[in-house]
Symmetry: C2
Subunit: 208 residues, 2 copies
DNA sequence: ACCGGGGTGTTACCGCCGGTAACATCGTCG
DNA sequence: CGACGATGTTACCGGCGGTAACACCCCGGT
């Protein structure tokens, strides 16, 4: 009736070993952590991708729901965007290793083979697309812009979030501000520096 | 004196097989394409990463230089940004498979293990960071903002470019416009749609 | 003429990976 | 009791990245 609890146990073990060893953890390692051997894992999840998918669904449930809720929050647009950004960053901050697994696509699969965004992030991108298309008046190109921006924003937050998580250059709220400022056109609005034309790149040759 | 030409040949073969089989192509396949066997590849490039690095340096030379030049172009800021975006998209458009290899980090390496951006893109991110910091007056947070934005913009263009390359939803110039508009705060400036509060997500449960 | 060295190439192997086949063991239900 | 399903095992497969050992061939020095 309920093969669930053992499955949960296995997923817990996978969580643990991935948190400890990072993504790329081997099936053997996960099985060992669970106190068993590989074939059981394969019986439960089919293949490695199945395990990852199960982990994904388990963890993105919360994050995706939180992002979706943040997108629908009845706030000023700027506050809403900041809320979404903060929600995402808080999510990846909580379990960095697991979210690295979820957010970084594996290059090995010959299937779709193209997408820069892992499935979990694709869902977020779609959510953003939907929200933008539904809430904001973008004229004739509405659909195209919403879809492009959904991907673009997701990729932006992915890369920026990953960098922030790794080097922790500032607080989370400050990072949220930096990203929201970028989306708010601060790059376009800021004044030029006096020396507008710089002489040459500091390191044109990597010398490596 | 010049072990270069044979090296070039091997890189050509690697290019070919990667263009045909996508990233993830095995060393055996590359060696076979070159009409030789694995150990020779390893003599020349050390390991797979070395081969990838060599390919990277070969291909990103042009792209990176082009981006750097575009960043230094004496244009209006908006035009300059569009020029950079177009340069990047044109680059990945030319050899999709190769650039996929260059732009998607391999999760297997246990070294830094974190960065969402492959080395080639890290370089572009640094270039953007440098240009922003040098050209635009961002006040006290200058360095932090420039670095965060460098990563953010790179990730944005990576994800958006990848999507565009895969589904070709519009012309390149249109895509450039969409991204520049996003950076120019069009998301922030656009009007609300009349039905500002949407009732519910069209698909709150993936039903999968 | 001989020999040595560097580049080119090979076969054969290692350890590890994801994945599978075959077999053993237990609890439960008819 | 017997059948069955879940749980578990050992032992294996093919392929991966990577390496060791050996073979050839040409070219230059004595």
């Amino acid at each position: 009736m309920d093969p669930e609890p053992r499955r949960e146990q296995l997923l817990n073990a996978a969580d643990r070993v991935i948190q400890r060893e990072g993504p790329g953890a081997s099936m053997n390692a996960i099985a060992a952590e669970a106190g068993i051997t590989k074939p059981i894992l394969y019986r439960h999840f089919g293949d490695r991708n199945g395990l990852v998918r199960a982990l994904t669904e388990r963890h993105t449930g919360g994050l995706l729901a939180a992002v979706r809720a943040a997108l629908a929050e009845p706030l000023e647009r700027r506050d809403r965007v900041e809320h979404v950004l903060d929600t995402y960053l808080a999510g990846i901050e909580a379990r960095p290793q697991v979210y690295r697994l979820l957010t970084h696509p594996e290059p090995g699969d010959p299937s779709g083979a193209g997408n820069a965004l892992a499935p979990a992030l694709q869902q977020i991108a779609e959510e953003i697309t939907r929200a933008v298309a539904a809430q904001i008046d973008l004229g004739a190109d509405r659909e195209l812009l919403a879809e492009a921006w959904g991907r673009a924003i997701t990729g932006m937050v992915l890369a920026a979030g990953d960098w922030w998580l790794e080097s922790r250059p500032c607080s989370r709220t400050r990072m949220v501000q930096a990203l929201a400022d970028l989306l708010w056109g601060r790059l376009a609005a800021a004044a030029d520096l006096p020396s507008a034309v710089l002489p040459a790149g500091p390191a044109p040759e990597p010398t490596d």
